[in-house]
């Protein structure tokens, strides 16, 4: 259930009947479809323009040099930016090995007839659609309180890792599935063990797909604010995190905090921070698409 679109070639759609001309009802339908398309496109254009116009004046060095402050003219987002970097690094550390290993298990070792494996698959599909705030509740209830880990980078990164785990698993599985079976069979025929086959043949071939999935998962984690609200990041943090158990802030959260303040100057600041966040996300997604185009092999 990924959001990415299929990019395979398809036969072009037939053009409207020439000669007789397009019937009015058919033309009206086509215009209706174009109008629907327009809704999304116009909205996107207006959103991006509005945010850029509103935040342009505050897009300067203060944004990443200063820390949050009560005075809008002095405020910046350094703690949020550094916090986000820490958070994403840690999230990647937890989620990438777990997700990729799970994908390998499901694709290479698991017998789909066995009950436990079907449960695992159904479970992953369910988790992919659970609201993000429920993960925040999980983090609050179990990680922070029951396990006593507290409200810090560790809890937040673990929670975000669990949130994007299904995305990594699903993307990695598709990448592994795309490797032709002949490669595996050839390797086994030459005497390699199962794991040698996976480690030396299948995984290297699946790396572009997995890298794309990883980048998309991390960019999703970067934009999440809801779970972090429940994990003690709502208080304004004016210092860079200094360790696994440190309090932290994150860019989406900082944006949320500024948005909640009444002064118009903070709205400008929020817009500038939004521009920063969107640019970073755009770069990450473009990188993912680039990797997918450039490195995915046609077998």
């Amino acid at each position: 259930m990924s959001i990415t679109f299929d990019t395979t070639e398809r036969a072009p759609a037939p053009s409207p009947l020439k000669g007789r001309g397009e019937r009015p009802l058919d033309r009206a339908f086509r215009y209706l479809l174009l109008a629907a398309l327009g809704v999304g496109l116009v909205f996107l254009a207006v959103l991006l323009t509005y945010v850029t116009v509103r935040g342009w004046s505050r897009l300067d060095a203060r944004l990443w040099q200063n820390f949050p402050s009560r005075l809008p003219s002095r405020a910046g987002a350094q703690s949020a930016i550094v916090g986000t970097i820490w958070l994403i690094a840690l999230t990647a550390l937890w989620v990438l090995p777990t997700g990729i290993l799970t994908a390998i298990y499901l694709e290479e070792y698991a017998d789909p007839e066995r009950r436990i494996n079907r449960i695992i698959e159904l479970n992953i599909q369910n988790l992919a659609a659970v609201p993000s705030i429920v993960f925040g509740i999980l983090g609050l209830g179990i990680l922070a309180r029951t396990l006593g880990l507290g409200f810090n980078l560790l809890t937040a990164s673990l929670t975000l890792a669990l949130l994007v785990l299904p995305v990594v698993i699903i993307a990695s599985r598709e990448a592994i599935r795309a490797v032709p079976n002949s490669i595996r069979l050839g390797s086994l025929a030459l005497g390699a063990t199962r794991w040698q086959t996976i480690w030396r043949q299948v995984l290297p071939a699946a790396v572009p797909g997995m890298a794309t999935g990883a980048i998309l998962a991390l960019s999703r984690a970067m934009g999440e604010a809801a779970p972090l609200l429940l994990l003690g990041a709502a208080t304004s943090v004016a210092f860079n995190p200094d360790g696994l158990f440190s309090a932290y802030s994150a860019l989406p959260l900082q944006i949320y905090q500024w948005v909640s303040l009444p002064q118009a100057a903070f709205a400008e600041l929020a817009s500038a921070a939004i521009i920063t966040l969107l640019v970073v996300l755009l770069i990450m997604n473009s990188l993912a698409i680039f990797i997918r185009q450039k490195f995915s092999r046609r077998w």
Binding site: S2, F43, L101, V130
Partner: protein, 318 residues
């Protein structure tokens, strides 16, 4: 040579087992590790359920909040000095905003999918698909900000005086949320539409149908279960969305169907109560989990329906 012994069968022919006589421990270890990794996902679900159960049960048994009052009461004020625990304002608010969002997302999403699948040429597709992916990738905080700062003033300027929306209102949040969900609905519907075999379309075209007739009378009905699955998933996303409603729809629960006033949804309440300093074990803390359970159950039911529908449409063509 001494390690492999010949197995002498009764007939006297030497037969050597092709298997090694000791197992490859490395392989077994790897297999075990992989299985453990897979169990993390199960542990997550168990964790989610567990985190809900104890405080919810505590709320209804230990603190004497009656389940009936919770589910049918219309006054939600658990954080007040004299707390009331009727969750209906939150549920109704969630449903009102979801209906608005879905009224935008379903027609627009489906029509976008039809256009992409049946009408768009390769050049249009190369432009449209990345655009939709961009829309899908925008963080929800940004949508919330846009709803509050742009859409609400716009509505205030455009709607007549009798319908003047308050600064925090459900309509603005619902409309923006609808646009946010469009990529989800469009992407899944397009998957469903593409799965319909070309032969069905070709047959209809050969009989003289226009693209419109093929789309509406052949392809969409054929892909219906996948499309409905897309709709259900869109509804589930709308119900579970937090940031847009927290920012734009306000934190004042009103038990009303009027979208022009502040409407606090279930997710917005969880965000508000959870980001405050509710001490562990207090009633206010437990209400977070109780409302969370309700939210989780609603989205779980919708997700299961959606997964079943997707499985059904996949089986038809494979």
């Amino acid at each position: 040579m001494t390690a492999t012994t010949a197995n002498l069968s009764a007939a006297g022919t030497a037969r050597r087992s092709l298997r090694r006589d000791r197992p490859r421990y490395g392989e077994l270890a790897v297999q075990g590790l992989l299985f453990l990794a897979a169990l993390v996902s199960i542990a997550t679900t168990i964790g989610i359920v567990l985190s809900f159960v104890a405080p919810t049960v505590e709320l209804f048994t230990g603190r004497g909040v009656s389940l009936r009052e919770f589910l049918t009461g219309t006054d939600w004020g658990p954080l007040f000095a004299q707390p009331t625990y009727g969750v209906l304002p939150l549920v109704v608010a969630t449903l009102v905003i979801t209906v608005i969002a879905v009224a935008v997302a379903i027609p627009v999403g489906l029509m976008t999918a039809i256009y992409l699948s049946e009408y768009a040429g390769p050049r249009a597709r190369k432009f449209l698909k990345p655009t939709l992916e961009v829309l899908a990738g925008i963080p929800t905080v940004v949508f919330g900000f846009f709803a509050l700062q742009f859409v609400t003033p716009l509505l205030q300027a455009v709607l007549p005086g009798s319908q003047y929306p308050k600064i925090f209102n459900g309509l603005s949040a619902g409309l923006v949320m609808g646009v946010m969900i469009i990529p989800t609905v469009a992407s899944l519907s397009e998957d469903a539409l593409s799965a319909v075999p070309r032969s069905l379309r070709d047959g209809a075209f050969a009989l003289g149908s226009s693209s419109r007739q093929v789309s509406t009378r052949v392809v969409v009905p054929a892909a219906l279960s996948g499309i409905v699955a897309a709709f259900v998933l869109g509804i589930s996303r709308a119900i579970g969305e937090t940031m847009i409603v927290t920012i734009a729809a306000g934190s004042q629960p009103n038990f009303t169907l009027n979208p022009l006033v502040s409407l606090q949804t279930m997710t917005a309440f969880i965000a508000q109560a959870g980001s405050g300093d509710a001490p562990v074990g207090s009633t206010a803390y437990d209400t977070i989990f109780a409302v969370g359970s309700l939210l989780f159950l609603m989205t779980l039911a919708l997700n299961i329906v959606s997964i079943r529908l997707v499985r059904k449409y996949r089986e038809v063509y494979e």
